[in-house]
Amino acid sequence: MFELSTAVELEGNGAVLVARHAPVGMVTLKAGLNRAISAALKQSTGAGVPPKRKIRKGIAWMAPDELLIFTESDPDALIRELDSRITAPALLADVSDARAVFTLKGRGVRDVLAKGAPIDLSPEAFGTDDFRRTRLGQVAVALWIPAPDEARLICLASVGQFVFDWLVNASQKDSLPDYFST
């Protein structure tokens, strides 16, 4: 889903690589996040409701009543399937085109992100299944760090170019504070 080969824009000359992906399948689910919802999700996607502020198997916790589901299949099909399984009131919407998705790769991804996100990004505080809605400079984003030298970030599509430029600027060579041990 996040292969660099499908990137629509890529900058590899900085201290870390910055890539913007082509639209990725994303579905917003808003509902009371109870066991029934978790069971329905598991049937459709193989994974249930993740714990607070976590991302597990492509399902991200956005708010106490909101999840973001990343999908490689047709979002409309997933929405129909979930709709048929979920009996409680719920909102399902395709948001694949509403957001820009980025991958950062290389030693120092935490350093780059910590230039704009006012959160504790140390490996002890922010593990590979943590997911955080925060900001990057002036822009609202959500981010996670699925592997030691790899970070993922989403923002609204309208500021996709701004965020790409921001990331390229922040990852220029000789600009990393090297604050994080790994």
Binding site: S96, D165, W166, P177, Y179
Partner: protein, 996 residues
């Protein structure tokens, strides 16, 4: 004269010469020099003119407290004023210019002010220039502006990059002297995460200069030991060239890192602003030496004693060949001994105390003459010191002896750097023995749990002597470990210190004690702002008894150094003048940052194209490449018009309107907010949000709705489409999408949490394109795939399907008054659809139109725009939209608000149309309607209508709806324009054009 010593200087590398220019002249120093040490080595002792009196000034200090040696640094995009030479590391090609002199440093016309000093007393600008009133603007201010002030204002944009960094740590330590390093080692051994910031390029502070022995190691060796031990700890981070600049609530701190000031051509950012969250903050910020208050203490060559020692030991520079030391305490004796050991002359140590301490014996053994109970009466020399006159400290300044010298090393004792402790509310104690304010550790700044979160250590705590300093640092490290919830790794044994014991100091606030006016009026307290002893005394006499008032009246402590040298002396003098105790007078407030932080660092990366995010639609690139000129709407940029080459903007707008009204136009409406509202209670929820009824809307239909706030004032409008029984899509204005979504969530989460409703802001999921004009249907039909006939898709209906192969939802709504379709497709398909529509419409004369054409067309139809016709004080009734306010509903937001008596009267400002009597002159934007000398309303929208061939306008006029046909006067930049009140719907009132 000052000069480079043949050897010594632990920070410089004599094999690496560095060339720079000062006032255009080439000078040479060594790698490791500061600009100040290099200037001094080159015998450049006069480095600037003072702020007010233009007196010659020299380097006084060796660190951040330097008041005089401020430079205009760099050129062009790297020019920066007020840079301290003492904290500027030397690099090849450095360009420095002295400040505040005209025409030259050596000859300065402004120095006349010195002779006119009696006309420039404290608060002179409140007194001298009161009358005549016109003279301030035309005479006094221009003269003062030319002669006063420090650095110049940069004229070119900054070429450097800056950035932020957000860091979290258990323990933050400000200061990398011995106390900070000891605390870092002690705390770091526990495994706690420690971040230590040191403002200078090297660690060790005074330990690099002073003769001490710790655990059998000399000062520098002990620092090396500490650094080696710390390097073994993975959780401790040391950052040099980074100042702990401020402490704020909840353990928040500011670090200011100067990465490339010493290497401006290196890659990477110049400054980095660290925004740090720490559980505990240890302030190991040391102490600053104080000046002594004697006549002529501002002349070049008069320096702080500790700084004199720094220049010899750190940089191998002699500030003078023959130095008189003057002191009220023991530490300055170390300077005398250091100078003597370097082979420099020390003709005399003047000690104001009746008796000196053990260090005096060492000086005597070295053959240095000491005069206790004495003082300096005055310093002779103009551009630099030539001699000092010695007198009794207890006397009135009658000289008993004149001693030739070219340098004076003074020490008035020390003040702990309590700034960071105080920034967030830490309180101070007056330490009588050392005559200084130090932290009152029983009253620390407190965090969100009510716990103290700042721990002072070392000299910053007031522990000036080495043994106490080290003990307090280890204790602070341990306390911090305990308080952040780590367990200690075994305590370090107390350090074994060998240092000379010190005798008590004796405070001296005036030298000599009974100095007459003639001496006091040449005695400086604040060097950077030119405040003298007599200024403070005058302020006290004139009733400025509060220290905060005296500060502002005299401007003491208000320069870029924020009174680092002057504050304590100033308030001691004020206390003496008021016959009060020093602690009763108190200090002024310490505010962050500790030293000035560059504006670039505060702006961070937000400059140039990263200045502010601009939201762009999926079709934005097409607009740009087709010559659109843009206007900002909320955070979006939208095409205002598409002028062709050589075409005026007005002509383009006219062409776009004519094309749309006569054939077909294309408009990017993607920025309109689109909020999905779903759930069993969705219809009930929307009935409460909108003023009109939404629950009666049939699935597959659209309805225009208004939203008010609780006061009954219009806040947003838009078309609501009912997608299914329990799902609605609410369109908002471009600026309203985030605000209205938040408004919905606020009501759902805080008031109507029992409703089963979910909302999602889907604004950016869709690109939305308007196809409007008599041939609009033909264009969509040419694209194919969906039946858009009037039967299948009537006015205010919508259909879903595939248009030209793209999944689409087509709404039949109109803001132009024409036959109009709004096509929503997934945003990633937006540009494709745009291009397909252009292609399909080519034979029909399709043209894109911008927001201005849109606005003209909606005004022709009398449609309002939220924010133009409404301004937060306008109800739907004021806008003739009572039809959109339900009378059947029990409640909705704003219902009670708009029923209040003053919102229902007939004389409210009401929306009307305006037809100018002239067919060529349109009314100015916001022009006021004037009647009987009173403004009775104003223009809200005004355009030239190409459709009608004359200007049109809308306005809010008192009782306007009852005044149809009246002619009103409008003020237009001095002239009066007449316009008749008419129906605001100028065009196609029956709506025949949109309903075909």
């Amino acid at each position: 004269m000052s000069f480079r010593l043949p050897d010594g200087g632990c920070l410089i590398d004599r094999s690496q010469p560095v060339a720079f220019t000062f006032n255009g002249k080439r000078v040479q120093g060594f790698r490791g020099d500061t600009l100040a040490s290099a200037l001094m080595a080159a015998d450049r002792r006069m480095v600037g003119r003072s702020f007010k009196y233009h007196r010659p000034r020299g380097i006084m200090a060796s660190g951040v407290e330097e008041p005089n040696a401020l430079m205009n640094m760099g050129e062009g995009g790297r020019f920066e004023p007020n840079q301290r030479a003492t904290t500027t590391e030397l690099f090849d090609g450095l360009i420095a210019r002295s400040q505040n002199h005209w025409p030259s440093l050596g000859f300065d016309i402004g120095a006349l002010n010195n002779k006119l000093a009696r006309f420039l007393p404290a608060g002179f600008y409140y007194k001298t220039f009161m009358r005549p009133q016109w003279a301030w603007k035309h005479v006094f201010e221009p003269i003062i502006r030319r002669s006063a002030g420090l650095g110049q204002v940069p004229t070119k944009p900054d070429t450097d990059r800056y950035e932020y960094f957000y860091a979290y740590t258990d323990i933050l330590i400000a200061g990398g002297g011995v106390a900070g390093l000891e605390a870092a080692l002690e705390a770091g051994r526990s495994g706690a995460k420690v971040l230590l910031l040191e403002q200078s390029p090297y660690f060790g502070g005074r330990f690099m200069v002073d003769d001490v022995e710790v655990d059998g190691r000399n000062g520098p060796a002990h620092i090396t030991y500490l650094l080696d031990e710390i390097a073994k700890l993975p959780t401790v981070t040391l950052r040099s060239r980074t100042q702990g600049a401020g402490v704020f609530d909840h353990g928040y701190a500011l670090g200011f890192e100067r990465l490339n000031d010493h290497a401006p051509t290196a890659s990477g950012p110049r400054h980095r602003l660290w925004r740090i969250r720490a559980k505990r903050i240890i302030t190991a910020t040391g102490a600053l030496e104080r000046t002594l208050n004697f006549a002529g203490n501002d002349k070049p060559g008069v320096m702080l004693a500790g700084a004199v020692r720094d220049y010899v030991r750190l940089y191998g520079v002699a500030p003078g060949a023959r130095t008189v030391v003057v002191t009220n305490s023991d530490d300055a004796y170390r300077t005398a001994l250091t100078l003597h050991a370097a082979g420099l002359e020390v003709p005399l140590i003047v000690d104001s105390r009746p008796q000196a301490g053990a260090l005096a014996d060492a000086a005597r053994q070295a053959g240095i003459r000491i005069e206790t109970g004495h003082a300096i009466a005055r310093v002779n020399g103009y551009k630099h010191v030539t001699s000092v006159e010695i007198c009794l400290q207890s006397g009135a300044g009658n000289a008993v002896e004149t001693v030739a010298c070219d340098c004076v090393a003074m020490s008035g004792g020390f003040s702990p750097v309590v700034h960071l402790w105080s920034h967030c509310g830490g309180k101070l104690l007056w330490d009588e023995a050392n005559a200084m304010f130090s932290p009152d550790i029983s009253r620390p700044p407190t965090n969100q749990h009510g716990e103290g979160f700042v721990l002072p250590a070392g000299a910053a705590l007031g522990a000036l002597e080495t043994e106490a300093c080290l003990a307090s640092a280890l204790a602070a490290g341990r306390q911090a470990v305990d308080e952040v919830g780590q367990s200690r790794a075994g305590d370090t044994a107390p350090r074994q210190v060998r240092a000379q014991p010190e005798a008590p100091m004796s405070p001296v606030w005036a030298m000599p004690a009974n100095a007459p006016y003639r001496l006091r009026s040449k005695t400086w307290l604040d060097f950077q702002n030119d405040v003298k002893l007599t200024d403070i005394q005058l302020a006290a006499r004139e009733g400025y008894e509060s220290v905060e008032h005296a500060k502002r009246y005299t401007t003491i402590g208000m320069a870029t150094d924020q009174g680092k040298l002057s504050n304590i002396n100033g308030l001691a003098v004020l206390a003496a003048a008021l016959d009060a105790d020093i602690p009763a007078v108190g200090t002024t407030t310490f505010r962050p940052p500790y030293t000035p932080v560059s504006l670039g660092a505060i702006a961070g990366e937000a400059a140039g194209k990263l200045f502010k995010p601009t939201r762009k639609t999926a079709i934005d690139g097409w607009h740009e490449s087709h010559g659109a000129i843009f206007e900002p709407v909320a955070d979006w940029r939208r095409p205002y018009a598409y002028p062709a080459k050589g075409e005026s903007v007005q002509a383009a707008i006219t062409r776009e309107i004519v094309a749309t009204r006569s054939a077909v136009g294309l408009f990017d409406a993607s920025t309109l907010g689109k909020i999905m509202v779903t759930g069993p209670d969705a219809a009930r929820f929307l009935d409460l949000l909108y003023t009109n009824m939404m629950s009666t809307l049939k699935p597959g239909k659209c309805r225009y709705g208004l939203m008010c706030n609780e006061n009954g004032f219009l806040m947003d409008d838009g078309v609501v489409a009912r997608l299914s029984e329990d799902t609605f899509l609410c369109h908002t204005t471009t600026g309203g999408s985030d605000r209205i979504h938040a408004h919905m969530e606020e009501w759902l989460q805080t008031e109507w949490w029992d409703m089963q409703v979910f909302t999602a802001n889907l604004t950016e999921q869709y690109a939305q394109i308007v196809v409007a004009g008599p041939r609009a249907r033909k264009v969509l039909e040419a694209l194919g795939g969906m039946d858009v006939s009037p039967g299948e898709l009537p006015f205010m209906g919508f259909v879903e399907g595939k248009l030209g192969g793209i999944k689409a939802r087509i709404f039949r709504i109109s803001f132009s008054g024409e036959l109009s379709f709004e096509v929503a497709v997934p945003a990633s398909r937006g540009l494709l659809l745009w291009n397909l529509l252009l292609q399909a419409g080519a034979s029909h004369g399709i043209r894109p139109y911008g927001t201005e054409a849109l606005h003209v067309m909606r005004a022709e139809k009398g449609f309002v725009v939220v924010g133009d016709e409404s301004d937060g004080t306008v109800t739907p009734h004021d806008l003739n939209m009572s039809w959109a306010v339900s009378k059947k509903k029990d409640d909705f937001i704003g219902k009670r608000g708009m029923q209040r008596s003053f919102l229902t009267g007939q004389n409210r400002k009401q929306l009307v149309g305006l037809r100018t009597l002239s067919d060529t002159e349109k009314l100015p934007e916001s022009a006021h309607a004037v009647e009987n000398g009173k403004a009775i309303g104003h223009v809200t929208s005004t355009y030239f209508s190409p459709t009608l061939g004359h200007p049109i306008a809308m306005a809010l006029i008192n009782g306007g709806q009852g005044r149809l046909g009246d002619v009103l006067d409008f003020s237009a930049g001095g002239a009066i324009r007449k316009a008749r009140i008419v129906d605001p719907v100028f065009y196609d009132k029956e709506g025949a054009r949109q309903d075909v």
